[in-house]
Symmetry: C2
């Protein structure tokens, strides 16, 4: 077992570190990689209008003064940008795998346009090995996009549909989708117009009520049920006990 710590100062060649490590791992040596991110944290802090404040302790050590906002910037850079960048470089298989659509056709000012350089895609496959290992040992995975493309690039994918595909692959009994509305509404301006129950065979009659972000949630629900999830609940993430309320029945239940 070898632990490698790679610093976060300017000039460090992360590309080389990752390539090198990936090829050594193939020889069977076991590694843990611990990384820094200080130079990038300074940069992002400056850009966010919170310039870093380095302080020197009485014993002569320099460190970053970390108020709560700085801590969150620090987490964004270390755990978000740097960590995911390394993992993207090294891994062949993410949890969610899919295709990147680097060009998309959009409608802008009423006209069709092709937009290139987009890091967006669609999940096609779920790798359950790691998820199941964690579940079997009592961990509760906390996941979010991005997914990884078959070419190994991080891609922005829709979280609702990613959750739906994951629920299907795991043969989950329920998929609960929480958002900032009570569920699917007949009239988006009226929260008391909640549709409580949708028999799946009648889903086509209800899809039209979905507006804005709710469209992909309904699409995710349809995909999940088609793939074997028994019940999808679209529910309110603003309330107290949002999950236990759903377990006993609230929001829009599709089954």
């Amino acid at each position: 077992m070898i632990v490698v710590k790679v610093g976060g100062s300017l000039g460090i060649n992360y590309e080389a570190v990752c390539n090198d490590l990936a090829s050594i791992i193939k020889t069977g040596l076991r590694f843990i990689l611990v990384h820094g991110g200080s130079a990038e944290t300074n940069l992002v802090s400056e850009r966010l209008g919170r310039p870093p404040r380095m302080v020197t302790s009485v014993s002569g050590y320099e460190s970053r003064y970390t108020d709560r906002e700085t801590l969150e910037i620090f987490e964004m850079v270390y755990c978000g940008k740097i960590n995911k960048g390394i993992v993207e470089k090294m891994q062949k298989r993410g949890i969610w795998e899919g295709i990147r659509k680097s060009a998309i056709t959009i409608i802008e000012d009423g006209k069709r346009k092709v937009l290139r350089g987009d890091h967006t895609g669609r999940v096609e496959r779920v790798n359950l090995d790691l998820i199941q290992l964690l579940l079997e040992h009592g961990y509760t995975p906390v996941l979010s996009p991005p997914a990884i493309s078959y070419q190994g690039e991080a891609i922005n994918v829709d979280g609702d549909r990613a959750a739906a595909i994951l629920a299907s692959a795991l043969k989950a009994e329920k998929l609960i989708i929480l958002s900032n509305v009570p569920g699917l509404l007949k009239d988006v301006t009226n929260e008391s117009s909640l549709i409580k129950d949708i028999p799946f065979r009648e889903i086509d009659n209800y899809v039209l009520y979905a507006r804005g972000r709710m469209k992909k949630k309904v699409l995710g629900a349809v995909e999940a049920i088609r793939q074997g999830v028994k019940e999808v609940i679209l529910a309110d993430g603003r309330i107290n006990k949002p999950i236990s309320s759903d377990l006993i029945g609230s929001g829009t239940i599709i089954r």
Copy 2:
């Protein structure tokens, strides 16, 4: 198995979602939590001078146009800020546990000052359960600070010392610390003044050469060897094959 997806729109009560989930998990139900982060990503994008560009596809779905910089902002918010925030709320035990020192004494303009509200601390204990589970199944963990305090708050800790404590706890053969210099230098202005070999019993004669960020790396090295790691290598993270070069011997070797 239940999959919960919680959206990233304004108003969603993440505190309640986490509290609720934490208490339901105790009943033995198994969950996966998938989260979003769109509203926060919009906010951070704006603040970084890259306002979000929402596009509408021909089929009427709205999505975020994601160039590489937007993808990295997206990862910072989703994987860094939101994910770590949730895990902080829910978990009792992180990989690295330690104490938060919410007040530190610093030297500024030649004067001693007490600074409060700092989310910084020191690692005292390592939880190996998850790390070992992953290693045994062929995964290569990629880690970074923050650690978690005994009170469950995320704390900024020194990455070199965190790596040293991890290496000790795992009884690693080697700890390799890569930075943007070739190793410990006799003269920081001259990269050819590299100290190649330090017998650990003579470490006190060399500690004085460490300047700036190198101080904590040497401190980490000393702690690691005291706790049973056989060899610590301070080496250059800017070169091609930075790790295999170290395995065959380059940089400063302390043993």
